[in-house]
């Protein structure tokens, strides 16, 4: 039995305010979303790691024209550098630029129950 991180476990952790990633014991890559093998070297020995809850904004954009069925406008989507990994999420309030410090603030859930972490400016 593999204990490799699954989407369900990753999502449950997000709902608890924790971000889980995977570290490759062979090449050292750390990623913010679960896979069955390391995308860089194919190793299946990925270890689940807890990512830091504070990091810096790697890139960001503000969505003014949302996809259906979202009606809110002007929300910010961020890719956050958390230690050696990066994770995409939504900013809950305020406005951030690349390089700004943020921390995990909760999660959003879409119309089909898929979750993403949210971040708040430090």
């Amino acid at each position: 039995m593999s204990d490799r991180l699954t989407h369900a476990e990753w999502s449950d952790a997000v709902e608890d305010g924790d971000l889980l990633g995977q570290e490759c014991p062979d090449c050292g890559k750390v990623q913010g979303t679960p896979k069955a093998a390391c995308p860089d070297c194919g190793s299946r020995g990925l270890e689940t790691v807890e990512l830091p809850s504070e990091g810096t904004v790697y890139t960001e954009t503000t969505i003014h024209v949302p996809p259906a069925p979202i009606e809110e406008r002007g929300y910010q989507v961020v890719v956050v550098q958390l230690g050696d990994a990066r994770v995409m999420g939504r900013l809950t309030d305020g406005e951030v630029d690349i390089g700004d410090s943020v921390s995990v603030s909760g999660f959003v859930e879409d119309h089909e129950g898929y979750v993403a972490p949210t971040f708040a400016a430090e």
Binding site: H7, T33, T59, T61, V65, E72, V77, R86, Y114
Partner: protein, 388 residues
């Protein structure tokens, strides 16, 4: 030796079409047959691209339906679906099959309808386009397709100082080029001021930084290298590269460098025994202005970080040292997803034959096409040259 040669090309006007997919595709395919001087009986196989017909029109098993409509029932048909790189992936596979001797003659093309003619409004089409991003790790944030390229472009601006005004220059150039192209969705020129004044879509992109939702079809006839000389004006396919990058964006090493484009370009140039410096012009995937800047650097057409200044200084204009998107690009010509890749091949073919009408570039002998899909995770790069 060429991998294959294009001997016939056709496309519809890109824009709004109140026409079923088979009729829209039929126009491009019959034009490609006529241009090649062949009949459907001469075609050994059909490589076809459509990305979203299932979601937009409840229409999925399109291959045999389209083959029947254009007189090719009975031959093998395969459909490709690879986000915005759909028909260039079909093209790559057709070239490989022809090169391997599986077929002498193949039809390659794509069709798509993305305008409200499908019955889908903007928020719903925005959702369907966003389906090319990761369902579990990107879509729940509310990310849109403009948002994907906005994330890349913001980082590029941070790294290289690229400005919104430089992005606007890409839009102005491509609208200018599109005004010379009778098949372009937008035939109207614009200005930097107008572009910078447009409503915001996803920072740093405003309306004028984004390509339109378009309907359209494109098709080319390709033949083996040996067979090409029996046709008028064959144009050689000398190299095709195809690469992918890690998905989702958060797990890419450097999202803004669009690594798949770099890998695909290196393969294509190597196969063609050429270099970026030898390219006389390029058709690149400018779904957003920032995407053209990233592509110009990834293809080696301008130096790292110089994509923005190159556009602002006119180096990528029709009379610049490396003209990019003489067709108007996705930005002005339009972007019917599954038709986009082979439409780039149509544009290269016409320029290399000296047959591009009012928008013809002077003395071009070698050109490159760049078509990407998804969150820049797929890229196909094609090098073509005039047959000597």
């Amino acid at each position: 030796m060429a991998r294959a040669a294009v001997v016939g090309a056709g496309m519809t006007k890109f824009g709004v079409h109140d026409t079923p997919l088979q009729e829209l595709f039929g126009r491009a395919a019959l034009d490609a047959f006529d241009d090649a001087g062949i009949t459907p009986d001469d075609v050994d196989a059909f490589y076809f691209g459509n990305a979203m017909g299932g979601q937009t029109e409840n229409d999925t098993h399109l291959g045999p339906k389209l083959a029947s409509h254009v007189g090719m029932a009975g031959i093998p048909v395969q459909r490709y679906e690879d986000a915005c790189a759909t028909s260039s992936n079909a093209f790559k596979n057709a070239v490989e099959a022809v090169e391997a001797g599986v077929h002498d003659v193949a039809l390659v093309g794509g069709v798509e309808r993305c305008t409200p003619e499908t019955g889908k409004d903007t928020p719903e089409m925005t959702r369907i386009f966003a389906s090319a991003s990761h369902r579990q790790y990107e879509q729940p944030t509310g990310l849109t397709f403009p948002g994907v390229f906005a994330l890349f472009t913001q980082r590029h601006m941070h790294e290289h100082g690229t400005t919104e005004e430089q992005l606007a220059h890409v839009a102005v150039k491509n609208h200018g080029n599109g005004s010379l192209n009778p098949n372009a969705h937008f035939g109207k020129q614009t200005t930097v001021e107008e572009a910078l004044d447009a409503p915001k879509i996803a920072d740093p992109f405003r309306l004028m930084d984004c390509c339109p939702f378009s309907d359209g079809a494109s098709a080319v006839v390709i033949v083996s290298d040996d067979y090409a000389d029996s046709f008028d004006a064959p144009v050689d396919v000398s190299g095709i590269g195809h690469a992918t990058d890690v998905v989702p964006i958060g797990d890419k090493d450097q999202p803004h460098v669009t690594q798949a484009a770099r890998d695909a370009a290196a393969q294509a140039y190597e196969q063609a025994d050429t270099t970026a410096d030898a390219m006389d012009f390029a058709e690149v995937h400018d779904c957003f202005t920032g995407a053209e800047i990233l592509a110009s650097e990834a293809l080696g057409l301008v130096a790292e970080g110089e994509g923005g200044p190159a556009a602002a200084e006119g180096r990528t204009a029709r009379d610049g040292d490396i003209p990019i998107n003489p067709s108007g690009g996705l930005k002005a010509k339009g972007h019917p997803i599954g038709a986009t890749g082979t439409a780039q091949i149509v544009e290269l073919t016409e320029h290399l034959r000296g047959d591009a009408g009012e928008r013809q570039l002077d003395g071009v002998e070698q050109g490159v096409a760049h078509n990407l899909g998804g969150d820049a995770a797929t890229t196909v790069v094609t090098v073509m040259e005039a047959r000597q």
